[in-house]
């Protein structure tokens, strides 16, 4: 396992570099928006990665509640943390693009609001984990993750009522996209997914080590107190 990590990390770094080159120089210039449109190659892959990680978090949380397997809890924690990072990238790159194109930084549009609420829910999830230091934290966090997942469709419907300003989804939606742009987008998505897997992997190992150390420490103090 230890050797597999660099074997995975090197191609991921190369892929990220290649994806950057593709996004900056190879992808054609958008006719009306100009260069600012290139942020799209970071915004969309980050969003997909964040949503995927939040989904992983839900599956891991349910698994933990059913099986009580500490590994599932570590996966849930790690996916929520990395998911929040990618979700933050989405929420930061969005307004940077929106300001020159729409003329406003933010609008209470369906996708923006849902993403923001999702981000808020997962930040509160991380806050709960941080503030709760009993051995029951995983259980409580898993319950909160399920509540968050139940909330997302309701948030979506509650904003669905308003006119939506966000560009239609380019894949499977009404929008159209230049095939060269799509190509660059997919390369970036692959690179970001690999990068997210790498981050989760490193963080997961760290978390496992951290728990092992904690366990060893408590065992040691128990040992000392009995001596």
């Amino acid at each position: 396992m230890k050797r597999a990590f660099p074997i995975f990390a090197v191609p991921t770094a190369l892929l990220l570099g290649y994806a950057f080159y593709e996004a900056m120089w190879v992808a054609p210039m958008e006719r009306t928006m100009g260069d600012v449109q290139r942020i799209f190659y970071y915004h969309v892959p980050s969003a997909w990665t964040a949503f995927l990680l939040f989904f992983v978090n839900l599956v891991a949380s349910v698994t933990y509640l059913v099986r009580r397997n500490p590994k599932a809890d570590a996966v849930a924690l790690v996916s929520a943390e990395v998911g929040v990072v990618f979700c933050t990238i989405v929420l930061v790159t969005g307004p940077i693009w929106a300001r020159p194109v729409w003329g406003i930084w933010w609008t209470w549009d369906i996708r923006l609001t849902t993403t923001l609420v999702l981000w808020l829910i997962y930040v509160s999830y991380l806050v709960l984990r941080r503030f709760s230091d009993s051995s029951q934290t995983p259980k409580l966090a898993a319950v909160l993750a399920i509540f968050g997942a139940l909330d997302v469709p309701l948030v979506y419907f509650s904003i669905w009522f308003f006119r939506t300003q966000h560009p239609q989804p380019v894949i499977g939606g009404g929008g159209s996209i230049d095939p060269r742009m799509l190509h660059v987008l997919l390369i970036n998505w692959l690179a970001f997914s690999c990068f997210a897997v790498m981050l989760c992997w490193a963080r997961y190992r760290l978390e496992r080590l951290h728990r092992e150390v904690e366990e060893a420490e408590s065992m040691e103090s128990l040992h000392e107190s009995t001596r």
Binding site: S124, L140, L154
Partner: protein, 225 residues
């Protein structure tokens, strides 16, 4: 089923009797929301036309904050003398305890709303242009939406450090669709433009989904120690 009903009823009766004798939660909530009303009306100073548009938001934000005051005290009483530990070993169903606490909070917050609503009407010169009776289902469904999750998260935050601040941090993000529905429904009814039916149905859905989730998962939270 009969044990569920008798335990629920006994717990509600006990909580209400305690609250009636001390009036701690009700008084602090009433004064708190009165302060919010006064501060809001200083900060906005709206005309009658504007206040119809913004009153829904003001009312519900005031009630949301006031409800947190009550919700934070829900379980505090049971922590003393290890009542919750006794509850864990007793054969009484956990859902009965949860239902009793949530219904108790519903009664308390509804009472607060009934007392505060006339004050809002006076301070903001409100008169509903739409069907005013619809405000009652909106208020009941909205209050239940706040207290059912609030009671649940208050139980969750018992095991955290600084639990008083933890409750709003957990409750507010999850409550966003409910708060939005209440505010929009109230605004539509007060301003009389359009139909509030969509928002009432959304509130009802929210209530059904989260009541089910709370009842299903409360046992896990209660046993977590």
């Amino acid at each position: 089923m009969s044990s569920l009903r008798s335990v629920t009823w006994a717990t509600i009766a006990k909580d209400i009797r305690l609250e009636w004798r001390s009036k701690d939660a009700l008084n602090s909530m009433l004064f708190f929301s009165l302060l919010v009303v006064v501060i809001f009306s200083f900060s906005f100073d709206p005309t009658a036309e504007e206040s119809r548009e913004i009153a829904g938001g003001l009312i519900w934000v005031a009630f949301l904050f006031a409800a947190v005051v009550a919700l934070n005290q829900t379980w505090a009483r049971e922590l003393r003398n290890q009542v919750l530990d006794a509850y864990r070993v007793s054969p009484a169903p956990a859902t009965a305890l949860f239902l009793a606490k949530a219904l108790g909070n519903l009664i308390l917050v509804s009472l607060l709303e009934a007392l505060m609503a006339p004050l809002f009407m006076i301070f903001y010169n409100l008169r509903a242009l739409g069907p005013a009776w619809q405000l009652i289902p909106v208020a009941l469904l909205g209050t239940w939406a706040l207290v059912v999750n609030g009671t649940f998260f208050a139980a969750m935050s018992l095991r955290t450090r600084s639990r008083e601040i933890m409750l709003p941090l957990l409750l507010f993000p999850i409550s966003i669709p409910a708060v939005q529905s209440m505010v929009e429904a109230t605004r539509i009814i007060l301003a009389g433009d359009g139909n509030a039916r969509f928002w009432i149905i959304l509130l009802l859905t929210y209530d059904v989904v989260f009541t089910t989730a709370c009842l299903a998962l409360f046992e896990t939270v209660l046993q977590a120690e």
